[in-house]
């Protein structure tokens, strides 16, 4: 019986998160139908979903696995550009936009996952600050590789070059898909709000079920005490890699969703600042707290847009808001209030 209760507690949090996403979806739909959604806000919907997914992915590494990664924008970038290549090169063969988006996201996630394996194997031998520094470096490496990547397509198939567009050796009717530092231009916008919401729900299912399984428990055990985890027979590297690669793949899916919302997308979008931005979502939402990640990522993505009327001062205000939230969430008095609420709820549960 107790297991059921215990599972229920975790399931409750999971369902709360599904509820938040579905509620957000419904509210946006209602506002849209009433015509109350401004154009700028409408344009923010898919970035919001992408960043929420990114925050969840990073929280899996930072919160659950306990490793600081500063290069997650790199995985987003891999997913974004592979997604763009897939969607554009299949434009004729797969006319259905929904199916093409699905393929783009799946292949984006797959390639980002492979990048995660390649980077994870050497990087996860490190701990703490060293790991953070090396992930930062890998994030920059991915950005720079993308900066000199040229991909084109013609009848013979895909062409690839790291030099320039001409050296791809395409037929005359070939189309350049990714043009080095210019990125991808003329991308067909495929991402829709519904598709993004479904992806977000799917990501939530994957992350929450993973965390609440024996695999997730093993990952958290390594985070809490590596030596004890080894002595208890938990393979350390394998579980660190599972968390890292799952996170990278999800970041890739988010990248594909993000990129296919714009007509042009450049590699420099996915730089160190983006990695830090996502980390800010995770830290502000609470490390290891998925609900917090969702809310923080959504609010902080909208915030600069809402502050647009302050024009030049908006990043200043954004920074002040960040500082205020951090002070508030570390305030012992506020903390004790929240803890008290938690305890009260627990007592009531126990009384039942």
């Amino acid at each position: 019986m107790k297991a059921l209760k215990n599972l229920k507690k975790q399931t409750k949090i999971s369902f709360l998160n599904y509820g938040i996403v579905i509620l957000f979806f419904i509210v946006v739909q209602i506002l849209a139908n009433l015509g109350m959604l401004t154009n700028s806000l409408k344009g923010q919907l898919i970035p919001i979903l992408s960043y929420v997914i990114m925050a969840l992915a990073l929280n899996l590494v930072v919160g659950i696995s306990g490793e600081l990664s500063l290069g997650h924008a790199g995985f987003m970038s891999v997913g974004a550009f592979s997604g763009v290549v897939v969607s554009m090169s299949l434009a004729e063969n797969v006319p259905n936009p929904g199916l093409r988006l699905l393929l783009a996201i799946v292949i984006g996630a797959l390639l980002a996952g492979i990048a995660g394996v390649i980077i994870g194997i050497p990087v996860l031998r490190l701990n703490g600050d060293y790991l953070a520094i090396v992930t930062l470096a890998f994030g920059e490496i991915i950005k720079n590789v993308m900066n000199c990547l040229y991909v084109g397509v013609d009848k013979a198939g895909l062409h690839l070059s790291f030099k320039d567009a001409a050296s791809m050796g395409m037929a005359a009717d070939g189309k350049v898909l990714i043009n080095g530092p210019m990125g991808a231009t003329g991308v067909t916008k495929l991402s829709t709000f519904i598709a993004g919401t479904i992806l977000l729900l799917l990501v939530l299912v994957i992350i929450q079920n993973l965390v609440n399984s024996r695999t997730g428990l093993a990952i958290m055990a390594i985070r809490d005490n590596r030596i004890a985890a080894e002595a208890s027979g938990v393979p350390v590297t394998r579980h660190k890699l599972i968390a890292f690669v799952t996170s990278a793949a999800i970041a890739g899916a988010a990248g594909a969703l993000y990129a296919l919302n714009y007509s042009t997308i450049a590699p420099k979008k996915f730089d160190f600042n983006t990695s830090i931005l996502i980390l800010v979502f995770v830290v502000l939402g609470g490390i290891g707290n998925m609900t917090g990640s969702i809310i923080a990522a959504a609010l902080l993505t909208v915030l600069p847009e809402l502050l647009r009327k302050f024009s030049d001062y908006r990043m200043l205000i954004y920074a002040i808001v960040l500082i205020l939230v951090m002070i508030a969430s570390n305030n012992p008095k506020l903390r004790s209030i929240f803890d008290g609420l938690g305890k009260k709820a627990k007592k009531e549960e126990a009384a039942k």
Partner: protein
Amino acid sequence: MSKETDAVLKTSHLGIDFGGLTAVDEFNISIAPDEIKGLIGPNGAGKTTIFNLLTKVYQPSRGKIFLDGKDTKNMSPVQVNHAGIARTFQNIRLFDKLSVEENVRIGLHEHVRYGMFSGILRLPSFWKEEKRAHERTLELLDIFGLADQADVRADSLPYGAQRRLEIVRALATEPKLLLLDEPAAGMNPSETEELMKNIRKIRDEFKIAIMLIEHDMNLVMGICENIVVVNFGKIIAEGTPSRIQNDPQVIEAYLGGRKEED
């Protein structure tokens, strides 16, 4: 003493150096499959280092460790655990942020049979195995009277209970040999009494060998069938409790002889 062929653990010429310092040298022991062995010695004698060697936290500089007759050379701590050695730590190492039940579940990790994907997809094998693991966890916790605290966070348990939880977690890995590093440290006399009963009970019910490091001589003399005394990384005496108590070398090591003093 047991025949060496059916010893669960046997070491030969085991030793380790840290830089120029020889921490353990010429360590030869043999543990029978249902033996309770004590490992005692003054502070800094190398007792915990021996545990760290047996569990491969340190790789030995020399010598061999045979578990069930199998050489554990090149095994990692994880593989040694899977091969059948579980341990507790002198400075408690629990998973603080996880619940009591989850701590034991981690010990069961290798014995819960469902993959990552059936965990994500919540396939029937997930539910079946989770239920089995939960029941097994409560069974194990019950031995040490911790079952009603299954949902409590591990770091909120009192000190003595944390030590007991570590033993439960080690037992969950289904070892053949259980290494206890100062299991009674920080316990009051009645808790120690209870612990002694439980250690015997574990040996009788689980049919496993137990080796323990302990400074509480009542506990050591009370439950150990054989005792190994080490000083400066070397075995200075070995035998039954009554023999050890009257061994002049042991008395000298504990009370200090003139030779070491000056």
